[in-house]
Amino acid sequence: MTRRPLPALCSLVAALALAPAASAQQIELDGFTDGPTIEERSRPAPAGPEAGSGDPAPEPETLVLPLRPPRLAASDPETYRMSGQYDQASFTLFVPVEMSGAELRIATQSAIDILPQRSAIEVSVNGTPVGTLTPDNFGVAGIDTFSVPDGLLTAGRNRVTLSARQVHRVFCGPDAAFNLWTDIALPESGIEMPLADLPVGPLGFLAGASAQIARDIPLQLRMPDPDATMAEASDLIARFDAVYGQVPPEISVGNYYSASENATQRARITVLTADYALPNGPEFRRGGDGAIVFLLRSGDYDNAAQVFTGAVPAPSSEFTTPIIEPGRPTTLAELDTDGIEGRGRYIREHVQFRLPSDWLLLASQTGELRLDWRYDTDLPKGGLLLVKVNGTTIQLLPLDEPENAGRPLPTLRIPFAANLLRPGANRLTFEALVPGDPPDEACVPSEAPIFEISGGTSLTIPPSPRLSLPGIERTLQFAPRSAISLSEAAEVTLSPGLLPRLSSVLAAPTGQDTDLDSDIEIKIGIPADIAALDGDVVADHAEQLRAVMQSERQERGSAEDAWSQVGGNQWWRGLLQRDRITQFPARLNEWLRAIWTGNESALAPWLAERSADAILLQPDMEQPGHLWLLLEPDGDHRAVIASLAESRDAYRGPHGQVSVFLPDTGWESWDAPNRPLLLREPLTAANARTVVGNYVTIIPGRYIGPILILAVLSSIVAFGIAVVTRRKRA
């Protein structure tokens, strides 16, 4: 501690007061008579652990290379929930170097209803089992570690699979299944390694980025002028996203000067202005905070993008759902499903498939499912298997007939209405509900599957003339990344990092040839853009669209009871339900209207019942390639992105002309009644009946009107003939 000079008058007093500071210099001042007291002036060293160089060396900082989930989380990105009696999930694990002696840690917390003695989660790495975890961390999360055999973890992308078998402490019916869950704490699950060992290179970058993203810390993109150069970097971000599959990380864009606010970065991208040269092209460096920094020059994005894809080949960006060729039986094995084994008391297994984009049957044609299956013996009374097509039950099958149990059953032919299907993604579902036995006690353990569906089960979809309807889903099938942009209003209100993220989940895989009859343009906008929208769909609906985004969430009623459809088709049940009776006049009115204009409702009443966090719409059916995605400026867009990523190649995605999104309900879509049906092949005698059937289904009025006129004319002619004939006789 140093001391500053003492004024003459006070020197004696001060010297006494500061006697311990014997070394303090006493300086006589020239002509200074009433100056200040002696004071500390130099800045002393801070007290506490930072002081002195003799403080113990801190523990080396470590990071956990985390498990990356198979799908984007809508709410809590740090947790993945395995639920039900049986569940399986595969996670991606980026490892920067080949590891020996690695230990895989899995952090879990389970529902108290799980009986740990009979429950287990099997862990495998790249297909090799490494151990079994007992789900017994109930109060707080706990960590189990597994030794990974040398050579099993390779540098780059690895796959960790968890297969859960969860048994209820007391019950075992379908309801019990909903109380069984184990949460995987993703940031804490994976391989732990010292931060300093993270190699400075693309794999180190990806591993660090994974660790950071797992903790919900966006990947930072530092640019000299974020606003001006964001569009240029879009391709780079696209390649980066490609490495992560269709689960793009959140990206924040900023300048070089950031405040960390406790958010430790493990990786980031820094873009230099073009004034600076990087002789060897983009390079990786270690930042002062230990983060792996990808350094590149502005404008050098193509070279930069190849660095990532060269280091870790991107997973296929093609539509992965298999496509069915209409007109011939297609087995489940051909749909990448070798067979289905249903285990537990509530089972729901999906088989996803696609139909050609120009396939369309709206009339009374039927498809057929030829089901080869069996179910277990001694199942309790009341067990059912529901077979569904796109959510509609096409067959109820009992699982409680002893004479049929335990043996392969004859092929069951299940016809279903082909108009349940639609172009693009579709879904066949097997949903089983098996009561507890007895319902209020623990079940007898059984490892055998409740039911088995053979891979030889086949699906036959009738062929269709090449027909198409305009719709959101059809445009999204062909949308290139370059067609997606922010509106002017959105540019100043939405985060710049949102555009590349949305582009990743909205754009079609590269190489998709479009057969749309207009150019494609997808604008990301905000409610303020609604006033500027123009087209036959949105005309006169601006207020309603704005109200949908601004209104409080509508209560949409309780979730559908899985049992409610059982026996629901008996007509006499309606007589016992008062609400059905009171609604009868409205239903009758709607039915009569549907005869004339088709089944689709008008947009205004449809919107009036809804609220939304996001709206995806096709404003003008004459320009089917033009879409708008409207977002709340201050909203949490994570759920929208997660849903789009998940539904991009699946049945539950947005479709029709207007689709509204709420996290609780997903996408709800409205189809315009006057959609223009487009025949994409010549009208022939062979396809005429199908084509007319489709037209008539869409707009019955166009069929009923001419028929009525023809009938009237025919009647007049017949009446005239009759009159003329009768006169001659007279």
Binding site: R3, P36, E39, S42, P46, N255, Y257, S258, G288
Partner: protein, 352 residues
């Protein structure tokens, strides 16, 4: 660069002119807005008092002035006015335009010593000058002129060759043999801008004198916190630190900021920092041996170390850290200043 060459370059004013061309203050202020907000929220209260928590929760004229300068740079008029108001009421209580150097919240007499600290006054005058242009308030310029004039009148001492130097305070630093200076108080760019704005060449000469003195000292090691200037030469002032510690670490910072990245004081500081353990920066360096006596892991000190290393090695990109709100007032301020110094005096050293 040899000392003679360096001094010649300084005299020509090339370095300072270059620094001004590197980044426009308004543009830099926009870029630093998030960092400024984080600094303000962490270290200034609603009344405009900048709090140095580890130092008895005191407020110094230095801290108030640093806050004023950052607020002006960020274009934060509201915070600027609050800090300036608090400063006028609580520290600008002397008969001249200079401030008392410290305000203690828990002391019976909040300002027990009315002596000033010339670094605080210098930065306040500089901040007012910048704010006058930024916020179009002529009164700020008038006050800046008064402060600068009082600094020139009360806080200048001359070496035997007539070279003026900035004293640490109006009172108390003259000795029987000469006077004591703290070279971190003589921020060259601030002195030159005030000199040019108000026709006070003595301030510009004081800046040049300090830079020359630092170069002399750097021949013998890192620039010390305090040095006594006497007829017979430069000596260690008794009772004052002669190591490069928390005071003198601002010398390389201010020189880089002022476009003097080639100054030997920067180089000696950077070379000494190389011996610091990984993820730590030296905070006290023994002048004679260059031995590290104390280190810190706080982001501000590490950023300053990384910046000095970058300019010395002429690297592209530096290891400066993201601003941390976890650190105390002083390293936090040094970190923001390091960012400004990088943007204005070492544009190649972009934080990676």
């Amino acid at each position: 660069m040899k000392r003679r060459q360096f001094v010649s370059a300084l005299a020509a004013g090339l370095a300072l002119r270059h620094s001004r061309a590197s980044a426009q203050p308004a543009e830099l202020g926009d870029q630093l807005r998030d960092v400024w907000s984080a600094w303000r929220d962490a270290h200034a209260n609603g009344s405009g008092r900048v709090i140095d928590a580890p130092q008895q929760f005191a407020s110094h004229s230095e801290g108030q002035s640093y806050g004023l300068f950052l607020a002006a740079l960020a274009g934060d008029r509201r915070t600027f006015d609050r800090i300036e108001t608090w400063t006028r009421v609580n520290l600008a209580i002397r008969s001249d335009a200079l401030m008392a150097w410290r305000w203690l919240p828990d002391s019976p007499v909040r300002v027990p010593d009315t002596n000033n600290a010339s670094d605080g006054d210098l930065f306040r005058a500089w901040a007012l000058l910048r704010a006058s242009d930024r916020f179009l308030v002529p009164e700020y310029r008038e006050l800046a002129a008064t402060i600068a004039a009082d600094l020139a009148e009360h806080c200048i001492a001359e070496r035997s060759d007539g070279t003026p130097l900035l004293l640490p305070a109006a009172d108390g630093f003259r000795t029987a043999e000469g006077f004591i200076v703290n070279l971190a108080y003589s921020m060259p760019l601030a002195l030159e801008e005030l000199a040019a704005a108000f026709g006070l060449p003595v301030l510009a000469q004081a800046a040049e004198g300090a830079v020359r003195l630092s170069a002399e000292l750097a021949e013998g090691g890192v620039v010390p916190d305090w040095v006594e200037v006497t007829e017979s030469g430069l000596i260690q002032p008794e009772g004052f630190s002669f190591d490069c510690g928390y005071e003198a670490m601002r010398v390389p910072l201010f020189y880089i900021w002022s476009g003097l990245a080639d100054h030997p004081a920067v180089r000696t500081f950077a070379l000494a920092q190389r011996a610091a353990p990984e993820n730590r920066a030296a905070t006290i360096i023994e002048r004679g041996s260059g031995a590290i006596l104390e280190t810190s892991s706080e982001a501000g000190y590490r950023s300053l170390s990384a910046l000095s290393a970058c300019v010395t090695e002429n690297s592209l990109g530096s290891g400066m850290l993201p601003f941390s709100v976890e650190q105390a007032y002083y390293p936090a301020t040094l970190q923001v200043f390091s960012m400004i110094a990088q943007a204005q005096g070492a544009p190649r050293c972009i934080p990676l």
